[in-house]
């Protein structure tokens, strides 16, 4: 079932952030939301994830669906290792070796057992991406997942994302048209 948002309104202290927003996110497809800063893209994702309530409007097709996400600011547990951060959201029984392999496929060999606080911004971003895709979910929500990555790494991570989606619905915010095109497989 597709996910639909209909006539969503949201404002903070009188400041309108979302005004009569309606969209459809087809099941099993990748949808990129693009636009200038301050248009309420992150707010929209937060509403979809259930972290904020819309002032009015409807969200259809999210009931009973399990979400995973790349948050705007990584939201990693800084004192835990990359592997532990990912295992935290996985079902019991997922092997550490499997996670190590996934980290390696986004260029994070050799840092699997380092506390995340010791990693660079780009590395943390990739850990957050791997975490979102390693978790069992129906819908993957990503807020600028390739922020801070160089072109070569970004291409590698996009290839990884496309491979790991496995038919899940992806809703992604980006400012970058090239990223959107690459995600579309162009």
């Amino acid at each position: 079932m597709d996910i639909r948002i209909e006539h969503i309104y949201k404002s903070y202290r009188g400041l309108k952030v979302l005004e009569d927003v309606s969209m459809r996110f087809p099941k099993g497809k990748i949808t990129c939301i693009m636009g200038e800063s301050g248009l309420g893209k992150t707010t929209l994702l937060r509403i979809l994830m259930g972290l904020e309530n819309a002032d009015s409007g409807l969200i259809k097709g999210m009931d009973g669906k399990k979400c995973s996400a790349v948050f705007q600011d990584d939201t990693l547990c800084m004192s835990l290792t990359a592997v532990r951060n990912i295992l935290l959201v996985c079902d019991n029984g997922v092997a550490k070796e499997e996670i190590e392999g996934q980290l390696a496929s986004v260029g994070l060999e050799g840092v699997s057992y380092k506390p995340v606080r010791e990693l660079s911004g780009g590395m943390r971003r990739r850990v957050a991406v791997v975490r979102a895709l390693a978790a069992r979910s129906d819908v993957v929500i990503m807020d600028e997942p390739f922020k801070g990555l160089d072109t070569e790494t970004r291409t590698k991570v996009i290839r990884y994302v496309r491979k790991m989606l496995k038919g899940r619905t992806l809703i992604m915010v980006t400012h970058n048209e090239a990223e959107a095109a690459l995600m579309a497989g162009q």
Binding site: M49, L51, L88
Partner: protein, 256 residues
Amino acid sequence: MRTFITNGKKKTGIKLWSVLFWLAVWQLASMIIGQKILLASPVSAVAKLLDLCRELDFWRTIGFSLGRIGLGFFLALIIGVGLAVLSSMVTLIRDLLRPLLAAVKAVPVASFIILCLVWIPSRNLSVFISFLTVLPIIYTNTLEGILNMDKGLAELCKVFQISRGKRIIYIYTSQVLPFLRSACSISLGICWKAGIAAEVIGAPKGAIGEKLYYTKIYLDMPALFAWTLVIVIISILFEKIIISGIEYFIYRMEHQ
């Protein structure tokens, strides 16, 4: 997000030469005064300590005090953490405990000791007094750690539907442990001082406090300094062991 990272350790430790300097000053002062009853020399204190080490009663005395003060500390650690968790979940409990713990912090230890002597046998007084001095520190720091927890991590738990068990073991614990480590570091020294003070006033048979009490009665200054040295050494060792334990736990958690 709160993190506990330091860019290289600042050298704030005690230097050996400065210790030797002050020992020399002490030795010189005792030689100038020339009366053991007023100021025993470090040499005589160490000699007395070596004499004491050869007696079985010395080790029993240490065991007696260490066991009781240690028990008070661990009880405060467990109950303090438990109360902090409860307070973080129920505001009513937090409000209820606030004046009680403020009073415990404000009332002088000596008043508590004398008051408690009426109710508690002097043998177990040090358990209660060390418990009472440690509890507010553990409670306050742990609660601060919980309340300062990164809000983003709460959102992470909600979105990924992370189980309660995993939240407690990995997220809450990793966020609170640095606060708990700091609380233990502060409270261990205070705990020992308060526990020994309780023993000196209560003078239970077979405790370090009792030995200190008798040094006053018999004006045995070398013994006073020897026992004081014992208290300092045990206090340092106790603190090192507990803090190393917590740091090992943090290390294991951070590298698994």
